[in-house]
């Protein structure tokens, strides 16, 4: 049957009667409704104490995702004077304090998989969605029209348009990896987490109070980025512990 007709009918059904889907058997990628509280929310917790800014998470992310279901992630003029490309993860560097009392902070940034993602409701096609079963925010590349409105609606700049495919792309938390039963159990983690040589990236369910990430957030003062917009980012950051060098809460 014609695919677009199917999509149209499906979206009509799921839209006006969410009660029709039985809660006991959720479809594989059911969408979270706006404002819905999910039982499970996968996320990353990033420890700013130990990130050394090596960019291993950046390259491993690019390698995995350009080869997987999210890819290929285009690179334009990779050997030219101004190369550019699509990445889901960046490591930035900041300096706090005044010389000589300064501190260098390496700061990885990817999609924060907000619990109230502002990028999702603005999408005119429904290509952008939040999964009900684990809270991952994804883009359906076959439905994206490349209008870039979701990128405008993300205060964090987490989304990047793939210039070759002209669709919006973003961190998938390696959704094609973390559930892959063909991989050994210890490998069922996002590529960035596996690649980090210092263990600065923790991965788990922030809704499970006993998970490694929940404990880290609780015990070490995990915080969210730009709390002023109330997007409730699922990813959180562990602050630097106080050091004598800066002598502050940096």
């Amino acid at each position: 049957m014609i695919q677009w007709l199917k999509d149209l009918m499906q979206s009509n059904l799921s839209g006006d009667a969410p009660a029709r889907t039985k809660p006991s058997t959720p479809p594989p990628s059911a969408r979270a409704l706006p404002g819905e509280t999910l039982a499970k929310q996968l996320a990353l917790v990033i420890d700013l104490n130990v990130c050394v800014g090596c960019h291993a998470c950046v390259t491993s992310c690019k390698q995995w995702n350009t080869s997987g279901s999210a890819g290929p992630l285009a690179d334009e003029k990779p050997y030219g004077a101004d190369p550019t490309g699509t990445f889901f993860n960046r490591v930035q560097t900041y300096e706090a304090g005044i010389f000589p009392g300064t501190e260098t902070i390496h700061f990885p940034k990817s999609c924060l998989h907000c619990e109230d993602p502002p990028c999702v409701p603005v999408c005119p096609t429904g290509a952008s969605y939040k999964r009900k079963e684990d809270g991952i925010v994804l883009v359906d590349y076959d439905k994206c029209i490349g209008c870039k409105y979701c990128a405008w609606a993300c205060p964090y700049g987490a989304r990047e348009l793939d210039e070759e495919r002209q669709v919006m792309t973003k961190c998938t938390l390696c959704v094609d990896r973390i559930y892959d039963e063909k991989l050994p159990k210890e490998d069922r983690k996002p590529a960035c987490v596996k690649a980090c040589p210092t263990g600065a990236r923790l991965f788990g369910d922030v809704k499970d109070p006993e998970s490694e990430v929940s404990k880290a957030i609780r015990e070490r003062g995990g915080y969210a980025l730009m709390p002023e917009w109330e997007t409730q980012p699922a990813n959180q950051y562990l602050p630097r512990r106080k050091t004598d060098v800066v002598g502050g809460n940096s």
């Binding site: 677009w4 999509d7 979206s11 839209g15 706006p34 960019h55 004077a81 101004d82 190369p83 550019t84 699509t86 990445f87 960046r90 490591v91 930035q92 560097t93 900041y94 300096e95 706090a96 304090g97 260098t104 902070i105 700061f107 940034k109 502002p118 999702v120 409701p121 603005v122 999408c123 005119p124 096609t125 429904g126 290509a127 439905k143 994206c144 029209i145 209008c147 870039k148 409105y149 990128a151 405008w152 205060p155 964090y156 700049g157 989304r159 990047e160 348009l161 210039e163 002209q166 669709v167 915080y223 980025l225 730009m226 002023e228 917009w229 602050p239 800066v246 502050g248 809460n249 940096s250």
Partner: protein, 311 residues
């Protein structure tokens, strides 16, 4: 933001077409003596402008062949609602044109045209005003300005057309209305500029990174040669150019058209003279483009905090 010319063209040209159609609809409802041929021709012009706008909006898309999908999420997305209302407006204007051509005179169609035009302005403005963290846009004046600038340019165009076609009855009403709408749009746009000048952005480098040091600078954005984030959200122009564009649109979009309208209405030119109205429209066209370009360029996206320094 980096102004996308596709969106600038679409919002200005559709806004003017809406203003023109609303002017004609109000004139018909008020029972002004206008020749049916003139209204028909003006509606065809409006339809052509709307189709150019529709084409420009397609040009904004990375995958225009999938554009039909954009009607699906009307429950949550203002963009989706606009995608529905724009063709509806084109359709209802076409229907009105057809009815006039067939000699059917019903107040229902001009009334419907006004309602759908208002809905389209609302959707277009809300696309920007609903983004709460783009504080330059997230204010009621965004809606007010989209409507008033659309009315101003539509009334100016209607007055010019009426002057050229010798539609004295329409010109006597539309002319003063064009002057008033332009002055009002000027005033509210200045209010929006004042609001933006006084704006204190909620997001700071500290809130963006959670690093609570008063002396915090970025040393590297993580890549050497730009990305989507550095292309889409930075206009890359100097502050001096932005100031010139601001002055340019205040003069071209509001001051000069108002001056020419005053000239035409104040008896300095003889009644029904076409020249002042033609000059008003010719000034306003680049003025509208400059105004909308500035509207985008002035908006500071909080993501820019993360992309300050290459290395």
């Amino acid at each position: 933001m980096n102004p996308a010319f596709s969106v600038v063209i679409f919002t200005t040209i559709a806004g003017t077409a809406q203003g023109l159609v609303v002017t004609l609809a109000l004139a018909m409802l008020a029972g002004l003596q206008i020749q049916a041929g003139f209204v028909g021709a003006a509606l065809i012009l409006a339809e052509a402008m709307l189709l150019i706008g529709l084409g420009a909006s397609f040009a904004h898309l990375g995958r225009p062949e999938r554009a039909w999908r954009a009607v699906l999420m009307w429950r949550t997305s203002w963009l989706s609602r606009e995608v529905i209302v724009l063709p509806a407006f084109i359709g209802v204007v076409a229907l009105w044109w057809l009815a006039l051509r067939m000699g059917v005179t019903t107040p229902l169609l001009p009334f419907a045209v006004i309602v759908v035009a208002a809905a389209l302005w609302y959707c277009t403005a809300m696309i920007y005003a609903c983004l709460r963290f783009i504080q330059e846009w997230a204010q009621p004046l965004t809606l007010v300005n989209f409507v008033l600038i659309g009315l101003s340019s539509g009334l100016m165009l209607a007055s010019a057309l009426a002057a050229f076609a010798g539609e004295g009855a329409l010109l006597r009403v539309a002319g003063p209305c064009a002057l008033v709408a332009t002055l009002m749009a000027w005033a509210t746009r200045m209010l929006a500029l004042r609001h933006n000048a006084k704006l204190k952005h909620k997001s700071t480098l500290q809130s963006a990174t959670g690093i609570n040091s008063p002396n915090l600078v970025q040393k590297s954005m993580g890549m050497s040669a730009g990305s989507f984030n550095t292309r889409e959200f930075f206009h890359g122009r100097t502050l001096a150019l932005l100031k010139q564009v601001k002055l340019g649109f205040i003069v071209l979009c509001f001051a000069l058209p108002a001056f020419f309208a005053l000239l035409a209405l104040g008896g300095l030119a003889k009644e029904g003279a076409t020249m002042p109205w033609a000059l008003a429209v010719l000034c306003q066209v680049p003025g509208l483009v400059a105004e909308r370009w500035f509207f985008f360029a002035q908006a500071k996206h909080p993501q820019n905090l993360y992309y300050q320094v290459v290395s």
